[in-house]
Each structure stands twice: as C-alpha cells, then as structure tokens.
C-alpha cells in the first residue's frame, strides 16, 4: 500500500501530461500511461488499462478523461480537481497568451496564420482516411456515415442532436442484439 499521494503531485504530473500532448488524441496514450502507471506508479498498469477503457467510452479528450479517473481513484473529488486543473493548466495559459498577443499584433501575424490554415483540409481528410477502417466496417456503417455527413454538411442539422440520435440508435441496436 503506497502512501497517500499529494494533490500537488497529482496536479504537477497531470500538468506535465497536458503540457506535452500537442494535438491530443490517442497517440498520446503511451505518454499518459508512462507518467501515471510506470514512472510515478500512481496505479498498476492493468488498473490504468481498465480506466482507459472507461475514458475512451465517454466524450472528452483522452488526456483530461484519464486524468479525471486517475485523480478520482487517488484522492476522490479533490483529486479530480487537481488532476483536471493540471491537465488544462499549460494549454489554457498558452492559448490565452496567444489570443492576447494575436489581438495586439494581428496585422503582423496575419500572413503567418493564413499559411497555417491552408494544410488543415489535407490534415483532416488524412485523419478521416486513417480512422475509416475502424469506423466504417459494413454497409450499415457506410449508410450511417453518408447520411450523417449529408444532413450535417448540406442541411446544417445541429450536430449535437445528430450525435444524440446516434446514441439512441446505438442503444436500440445493442438491446436488439442482447435479446
């Protein structure tokens, strides 16, 4: 049994994770595992893996979600506040500084920003391509994909409601399967 881990320790490790996860996403899972489970031994690796499964099945960024669960496991609600505070600490400060800076020097920085915007299409299309195999596995998925894309893109349906309908559909399908 390890000693009670301090809130400061939880905050600082979560801040370290939040500070290095550029772009976010599942590519960062090994970094998060390394910090929480291997280097600092906040929990066992298999415990981390079971928390990871929960973290991935709910909305929210993976770094914040795993931090939330690890924080709770170690120190209940104060642990959650320390862990989440840590996870968003550097990102928030950096974005706020940039936002203020940009407000002041917008005209100077505009050409740079214009350049940065250009590859976004290729970057996102590439990510769609990478996720395709795991997301669209049969004709049913393909129909759902096309239908969702069309109503959100061309008919401007509210994405929030579309996702909620998707969840409802998933629940109905999973009930049918377990009958």
């Amino acid at each position: 049994m390890h000693n009670k881990i301090s809130l400061w320790k939880i905050f600082s490790i979560a801040a370290k994770i939040g500070g290095v996860t550029i772009g976010g996403g599942y590519a960062m899972v090994p970094v998060i595992r390394e910090e929480f489970a291997i280097k600092n031994k906040f929990l066992e690796e298999d415990e981390f893996d079971s928390l990871l499964v929960i973290a991935q099945s709910m909305p929210g960024p993976i770094a914040v979600n795993t931090s939330t669960l690890v924080g709770y496991k170690l120190r209940k609600v104060p642990g959650v506040i320390a862990a989440v505070g840590g996870a968003i600490f550097f990102p928030t400060i950096i974005i706020l500084s940039l936002a203020i800076l940009l407000g002041t020097f917008y005209d100077v920085l505009k050409p740079f920003l214009n350049g940065m915007k250009i590859p976004l299409f290729a970057v996102i299309v590439f990510s769609v391509m990478k996720l395709w195999k795991n997301s669209v596995k049969n004709i049913e998925d393909l129909i759902i994909f096309i239908a969702t894309f069309s109503i959100v893109t061309f008919l401007k349906f509210n994405p929030v409601y579309v996702i909620l309908i998707g969840i409802l559909y998933g629940i109905i399908r999973s009930l049918k399967r377990s009958e």
Binding site: G60, I88, I95, F112, A122, V136, F145, V162, G170
Partner: protein, 173 residues
C-alpha cells in the same frame, strides 16, 4: 448574458465530443459560426490552426480561444470549464455505477455504433475548410503535397502547420 450563452454552447459541444480531436469542430462551427455568428469561418479556421499546433486537446484549446474572443478572459475560463464539465461528470457516473464488466460491454457497443457518426462529423469539418484550404491553385498544391507527406513520411502535423505558416509569411505578405 453572453457568459450564460457561452456556458450553454460549450456544455453541449463538450457533451457530444466522442472520439476526441477533430470530431468536436463541426459542433463548434454550428454554434459559434452558423447560429450565433460570434466568429466568421475564416476566424474560426485560424483558431483551429493555432489549437492544433499548441499543447493540449484541440477541442479545449479551441474553446479557450473562442471564449476569449467572445467574452474576454472570463469568457475563456467559462468556455474551457464548460466544455469539460459533462465529460467529467459522465466519466465519474460510469465509474461509480457501471463497474461490472457486462455493463461496460453495453456502453462499448453503443460507442462503437457511434463511430461512423463521429467520422462523418470529422469529414464535415474538413468540408468547412475547403474555402480557406483550396481557394487558390497554390493552396491546392500545398494540400496535395501535405497529404503525400502525411501518407509517406512520419513528419508530424504540428511541424507541417508551422512550416506552412512560415511559407505563408514569406509568400503571402
């Protein structure tokens, strides 16, 4: 009033941010650009480019930035906290009540059914970038080259965006 609006918008956006990353962008565009007209699509695209190339999850970064533009520092704090509120509460709920393996399996099934929906949200966000990404022949060329680089090399996205920014500074000034 603007604070309450920011809170409600990012509360909803955060609540449906399944799959992480780019999936959140379409919902932010819907509320911030289409419905409330707080920003133009061009302005939002700048925010995405910056959010992508600084530390932290793109959704939270974008929320912080939009919050600042709409409601100053208080606005940015409200947007940041509200975008993670529902995820945190739902995670703790799941952790409390569904620790049994069979229940977790059910949640997984529902989430896996959501995958094509989430992917469509990302594809739809890409569609929003068509104008600023493919507006000129040079921009189309950049996108083709970037796509090939992503396909063939291990160069990371942040480096690509920053290089593109520098090129923009040299050529579009």
């Amino acid at each position: 009033m603007i604070y309450l609006k920011l809170f409600l918008v990012f509360l909803q956006v955060g609540a449906i941010s399944f799959g992480g990353g780019y999936s959140i962008l379409r919902a932010i565009i819907h509320y911030v650009v289409d419905v409330n007209k707080w920003l133009t699509l061009e302005q939002f695209n700048e925010i995405v480019a910056i959010s992508q190339s600084t530390p932290g999850p793109i959704g939270i970064n974008a929320a912080t930035f939009v919050g600042y533009k709409v409601g100053g520092i208080i606005g940015s704090v409200i947007a940041t906290l509200s975008v993670i509120l529902v995820p945190i509460l739902s995670l703790l709920t799941l952790y409390f009540f569904y620790t049994r393996h069979s229940d977790n399996k059910k949640v997984q099934t529902v989430v896996s059914k959501l995958r094509p929906v989430v992917l469509a949200m990302i594809a739809s966000a890409a569609f929003s970038f068509v104008k600023s990404s493919l507006g000129t022949p040079q921009a189309v060329t950049v996108n083709v080259v970037v796509f090939l680089i992503l396909l063939k090399t291990k160069l990371d996205i942040v480096t690509i965006i920053l290089i593109s920014g520098i090129l923009g500074y040299i050529f579009f000034r």
